[in-house]
Symmetry: D2
């Protein structure tokens, strides 16, 4: 399958459907096998000590899986998170952007499964890993 | 083991250590078997259609597990999330507070495991379930 | 919804569809909210020290979720495991049966979610917890 | 860190500590970044239709994470599974060996985290993915 959005088209699409988090996440790459997304870190993501909060990391992993999935099914379709697992392995670097590398492991008719590694920019070892399952409701025709 | 905080003491403690989310979460009950926490829903938590966002639900589950754990180990100790799993089962009701019922399943020397059910207030069936593992680093003495 | 099998009918059904594990698992209770299942512990489940193996505990949690789900959808339907999470919290007692208490949290059109607590018989604290998601393929008509 | 076993040494070690599953799993590669393990499929792993059972896949993922972890800490240490998540994505091929590719994402002082992809030999897309956390108890000195 080929991908149905350029990274720029996907960024516009995200701004359109999630206006309340506009600018929070940036699609850098998008292919049939997954995507790379950046979360520019601002004060809103931080916890004491300058570390990025858990909900912010969850949000980045979730949107990366959404982008990888929507890249395959196109903007007419819907996708909702049904389950996820996360392991938090290292403390994020203070003041560094977080970057998600998402790999689409399955793109089925009703479910997609995406694996995500989260990095503090410039660090070799991942900060966290996540798996996200999206359900794709049947389209009303 | 008995619990080391009243709900009010825990609310003060949360405001002290997480000032950036002050008022976001309210401890309503806290016992040795777990806690009940409320997240008053505001516009900041919402997605289109009035539904509560995934990161907000993750945040509520995470803080409920933290409160259940800290209730046992006391304020001198540390606890960090190491892993979690979540299942999103139903759409939250628009405009309703979310309430977490957390059960502390294990309080070990180095790890705690907490099960959390998330509800839209006034709805019988849970919106989501989560399990959270916290690691408790050894105290420096 | 009412339940479509008695415990005895479900035991016969399990023997019929999984003949290779006949007698491994016994349904003790089955209601619309879940089930109780027993795994009589034999040498085949054991690890050194007399503890029950991880795959045996996984198998018990998986079949308990299957039974809770099939109890609702009936024998004409299919259900396959799509995802699960497990936390292993305590060492099972050597030589004790394991008992699973399964709660059906969601019975949707295409997915079911079941929470399972696993106990060593006679012990108050659970040995493990699990969540299992089953996918229910559309019936061919 | 360098690895403390050759694949052959690790196979002997597995036979020694898990004699009841001798020959079930074979270490093919073992490096500091993870391992490759094979599970020769026999009738004991099968479900109706020739598919490999869930507990067998859990067992393969679990032992692959164990091998990746023990490869780093050596035979004097202990490691026990504390949590895992699995996604079952495709039906395994009947009559084909299963092969696990395990990547050690974190090797900490008290916890290791390993990501595992499970394949039916000869198939390009993974059958399942898993994450396994092992706890490493402090050594008695």
């Amino acid at each position: 399958m080929s991908v149905k959005f350029t990274p720029q088209e996907m960024n516009y699409f995200l701004d359109e459907i999630f206006p309340q988090v506009k600018g929070t996440f940036v699609v850098e790459e998008l292919t049939e096998s997954g995507c790379v997304m950046r979360m520019p870190v601002t004060d809103a993501h931080l916890r004491p000590g300058g570390t990025v909060s858990g909900p912010s990391m969850f949000g980045l992993a979730d949107v990366a899986a959404y982008v990888a999935t929507m890249g395959q099914i196109g903007r007419e379709a819907l996708a909702v998170t049904t389950s996820c697992s996360l392991d938090f392995m290292r403390k994020p670097e203070a003041g560094r952007d977080m970057v998600a590398h998402a790999t689409l492991l399955k793109m089925g008719r009703t479910l997609s499964v995406t694996d995500i590694l989260l990095y503090s920019e410039g660090q070799a070892a991942p900060v966290a890993r996540a798996s996200m399952t999206y359900s794709i409701p049947p389209r009303k025709t």
